[in-house]
């Protein structure tokens, strides 16, 4: 074997070996400030399969270190059926520990969800397809992105306008920016983004794509895709200029803490590895300060974000 090829093979083995042998970080990267708003984010979770249960167990582990009081669900809460046993196998059983700990779940409807889920009390939708609620200094807006008709848009504008909360956080199933199989939902972006900009939204959460992706601030708004709560489309993150960081190698969820003007986030894989972390400082008419660090394990060649000053990674980051 030619020496050059041998050298490349050894180098490749060392890189892969180092990647595989990277320590599994189970550290909490959230400040746990007094009176902060603490929540978790999942999406596309309702498969009822082993991976959903394992991720839910990891969420319960982290709940002991970071006692979040609620979870926002980015849709596709129940795949493949809405029989009573589906509610049990795909929601009540996997999240049993969290439900027993009185953690509330606030669902949004995905394209695999029957709108009658809004009557299921544990989803806290109040019988509505779209709704809003307050947590501390944060107002959440759970939208139905399956059917964004003028009535819902008018409602959203009225609620955004009326909200005096420091933080306004919409979440819904279909992402306005993503570089996965489905892609950015431009129709929705055309009608939603102007409202988000007009009324000072800083952060948006979506699912639909079965991975984790953090988008570089777009017109001042940081978008997250968190759609690997049960499903996973490994290797699906394609190259896009708007990507700050992506992770598509395992199921994942997010933890978020909001204290005053600062939002801290941590994305965690099924095995407990921290795949992204950072904080967002609420903007005051200017671009937000977003600081993200990561230990992603994705072979996808994602662009390096000039706006994202990433600290030294704790393990090889092959996607950068």
């Amino acid at each position: 074997m030619p020496r050059a090829i041998l050298r490349r093979l050894v180098l490749a083995a060392a890189v892969v070996g180092g990647w595989l042998a990277a320590p599994i970080a189970q550290d909490l990267a959230l400040p746990l400030k007094p009176n902060s708003v603490r929540f978790a984010v999942i999406g596309d979770n309702g498969t009822g399969e082993k991976a959903e249960y394992e991720l839910a167990a990891q969420m319960a582990n982290y709940h002991e270190k970071f006692p979040f009081t609620f979870v926002i669900m980015n849709g596709d809460n129940l795949y493949g059926g809405e029989r009573p046993q589906d509610f049990v196998n795909k929601f009540e059983a996997p999240y049993k520990t969290l439900l027993a700990a009185k953690v509330d779940f606030f669902a949004t409807l995905g394209n695999h969800d029957d709108p009658n889920q809004r009557f299921y009390k544990p989803f806290n939708m109040g019988g509505q397809r779209y709704y809003t609620y307050n947590k501390g200094n944060v107002r959440f807006f759970s939208l139905d992105s399956n059917y964004m008709d003028p009535v819902q848009l008018a409602w959203l504008e009225k609620e955004l306008k009326a909200s005096g909360s420091d933080w306004k956080i919409p979440y819904f199933h279909h992402p306005l920016y993503s570089s996965g199989m489905h892609g950015s939902q431009i129709d929705l972006r055309n009608v939603l983004e102007p409202l988000f900009i007009k009324y000072g939204v800083d952060v948006v959460f979506s699912g639909h794509e079965h991975f984790y992706q953090r988008i570089k601030p777009q017109q001042g708004i940081t978008y997250f895709v968190s759609g690997a709560g049960g499903q996973l489309r490994r290797g699906d993150i394609r190259k896009a200029d708007f990507t700050a960081l992506g992770y598509d190698q395992d199921q994942s969820f997010m933890l978020v803490e909001i204290a005053d003007k600062e939002l801290t986030f941590q994305a965690i894989s099924r095995t407990g590895q921290t795949v992204d972390k950072g904080f967002i400082v609420q903007r005051a008419g200017a671009e937000p300060i977003v600081v993200g660090g990561s230990t992603p394990a994705s072979p996808n060649p994602l662009p390096k974000s000039p706006e994202t000053p990433a600290p030294a990674p704790q393990s090889p980051a092959p996607n950068k």
Binding site: E82, Q117, Y147, H182, G183
Partner: protein, 186 residues
């Protein structure tokens, strides 16, 4: 050029600028066209059928018991099916309304570039619809293209439009059944 000619030219220019705007403002609303007016009438009649059927089954309140939700949905679907046992395609979306909807949908679809068409077709289900069938749980609901919601007639809360592969269906949201459909829409 004489003052008279200048005045006439000015008046014509002003008129040509104003009339399209006035014309657009005075154009009949979609609901005022005979096809959509008839469609709206039939939709209202369906909403009455739904309301009556809704009164025949236990009322649905927020519940911890998913069995209540699913059994209620099934019961409502059965009550509507019984009330519309002879329903046929075109009973609500008349031939004239279907032609109008096809025109609007095709126009919207054809105005899209490749990427936008991909979004239009994202996870569009591929089953052949039948009136009164329960929407198959194996298929997702395709996100309805937002621009079409601006041009198609507004529906009551119990109904919504949904796209299938080359079909538009009207779906009863609470009963989860197909109440009418048209094919070859884009």
């Amino acid at each position: 050029m004489s003052n008279l000619k200048l005045s006439v030219l000015g008046a014509v220019t002003v008129a040509s600028l104003l009339f399209p705007v006035i014309g657009a403002a005075q154009a009949p609303a979609k609901a005022d066209t005979p096809a959509t007016a008839e469609f709206n009438k039939r939709v209202a009649a369906y909403a009455d059928v739904h309301k009556k059927a809704d009164g025949q089954v236990p009322s649905l309140k927020r519940t911890d018991d998913p069995a209540e939700i699913t059994s209620r949905e099934t019961a409502l679907g059965n009550a509507i099916r019984a009330a519309r046992a002879t329903a046929q395609p075109g009973d609500i979306i008349t031939r004239q309304a279907a032609a109008e909807f096809r025109r609007l949908i095709k126009k919207e679809y054809q105005s899209r570039n490749r990427e936008e068409r991909k979004i239009f077709l994202d996870e569009v289900p591929h089953f052949r619809p039948k009136v009164n069938q329960t929407y198959p749980s194996a298929w997702p609901l395709a996100t309805f293209p937002t621009p079409l919601l601006d041009v198609l007639p507004k529906l009551p809360d119990v109904l919504e439009s949904s796209m299938l592969d080359e079909a538009l269906i009207l779906r009863d949201v609470k009963a989860n059944i197909v109440v009418d459909f048209i094919l070859d829409v884009y």
